[in-house]
Symmetry: C2
Subunit: 269 residues, 2 copies
DNA sequence: ATCTATATTTCGAGG
DNA sequence: CCTCGAAGTATAGAT
């Protein structure tokens, strides 16, 4: 329906739309959205299902269970039509995080030489880790395909904008920094693991997420030492800084190239 | 337009919609969205502006500057109408985080007795802190209005679902736990501050965010000791647990009541 | 029902 | 232009 209307929303916040001509869309599930003549994605205002429409002459009250209300006052109807679309077969996607995780699970050595998959979605008390890998003590690092790796070679923090944030073991007693370091110099441990967080775009939140997992896994004697690896198609600068500061490795993955590389060249020595 | 169509999107990912009847919305800015008969908010597929439509018989190609493409193959047109809505006067909002921050800045004592505002959006190397406050050493805690406060009275961690995550000073050497404690017992320090994170709904991410600020501010001798206060209209349980474990205070704020309370009763002694 | 993580997030502000 | 954080985020999946 095209109509001149004003809209009031009272719920999680209060919002008001002064009178103007807008498109009103009422769907089969009772949901309502109000659209202006720009922006493809976001409605000006809306009520998500499940909700109920109480239709009075000139006023629509759309309410949901939690007491939120969308009130549409219709001043003038300019167009009105309806059609039953039926159910939609739905969208088929390719290239999201799940797919990236799948590809990396098939070629874990891309993330670091000697890495082998233990399992995807490794369960922990605070949620599943995207990938848990085991690693051999390969001192020499071979080159990688379609991947640019950043490793914490020096122990120097070098936290540009954030001086000394993690300098005093701010990450945690048995945290990833410690775990990462313990792999070198001391007597080799039987278990060596790596927790991998996969993201399309990695922000600071991804580093925090991985840090929480590492705090937990690093204390498990059956797993320790546990390296942290952040693998993403894009890693934000702030995320990279924080990750390096915490001894977490960053790997930028080229999705297209990885998809081309079904087999892992690194294992074909 | 209501039409039987199939849709292909190639861009940040690849997606396909098999043939079905859907609503196609073309807006004045050239943006296009494809809707099914459910969900008020999200289109099945779309192309955001700025973009261009190349219309051929039976096929719409919608492309943008970055090379993303939405291809709509129209098999049958069932309804077609258009209307020029003109520009929309726009939405007026009330009750978002900025508003809450404003109100709390005006009445900081609501967050804890003796608190006074130093400044809003206090700048740090890792971003601005919502509110920075100074606090007097008021041992007696007066009741607050429209607020339910949870304080770390006992030093016991008691981290329900996440055993011992923060138990071994996982928060950081000079972190908030330490800072919070140093205000009691020892010789009083000249500077006493509180970093306040304001959220409408506070999740674990809010606690992490505040923790990062506290790691930084707690090491500043001009500010320390720095308490951490999480102020929100709603605090998720997990966030509350993590906050308490890290010595961060939680304050639930009633927006409506706070808006009514322009003046802060606590300062009227 | 609640919570967590993702999103072609979108959107806006600030550097 | 990019980066970062908020959103009535919405939405899907898991506990």
């Amino acid at each position: 329906m095209i109509a001149r209307c004003s809209v009031d929303y009272v719920g999680r916040l209060t919002a008001h739309l002064p009178p103007a001509v807008r498109l009103l869309m009422v769907k089969a599930d009772g949901s309502v959205s109000v659209h202006a003549d720009d922006r493809a994605y976001k409605p000006l205002n809306w009520m998500s299902p499940p909700c109920r429409i109480e239709e009075a002459p000139g006023v629509w009250r759309v309410v949901n269970r939690t007491g939120e209300e969308l009130r549409i006052t219709i001043e003038e109807i300019l167009q009105d039509s309806s059609y039953d679309l039926g159910v939609d077969p739905g969208l088929v996607k390719d290239g999201v995080e799940a797919h990236l995780q799948e590809l990396l699970a098939a070629s874990p050595a891309v993330l670091g030489s000697g890495l082998t998959l233990v399992r995807r979605e490794y369960p922990t008390a605070i949620g599943p880790v995207d990938l848990l890998c085991r690693w051999a003590d390969t001192s020499a690092d071979t080159g990688t395909v379609a991947v640019e790796t950043t490793r914490l070679v020096e122990a120097v923090p070098a936290v540009g904008a954030v001086p000394a944030v993690g300098g005093v073991s701010a990450v945690g007693a048995a945290g990833p920094g410690e775990a990462g370091r313990s792999g070198r110099g001391e007597a080799p441990t039987a278990a060596r693991h790596a927790a991998v967080e996969v993201k399309r775009v990695a922000g600071i939140d991804a580093v925090e997420q991985l840090t929480r997992y590492l705090e937990l896994l690093g204390r498990d004697p059956l797993l320790a030492p546990v390296r942290g690896i952040l693998a993403a198609q894009e890693i934000k600068h702030q995320a990279r800084v924080l990750a390096q500061d915490r001894g977490i490795e960053c790997v930028v993955v080229d999705y297209e190239a990885l998809r081309g590389t079904k087999r892992d060249e690194l294992t074909l020595f």
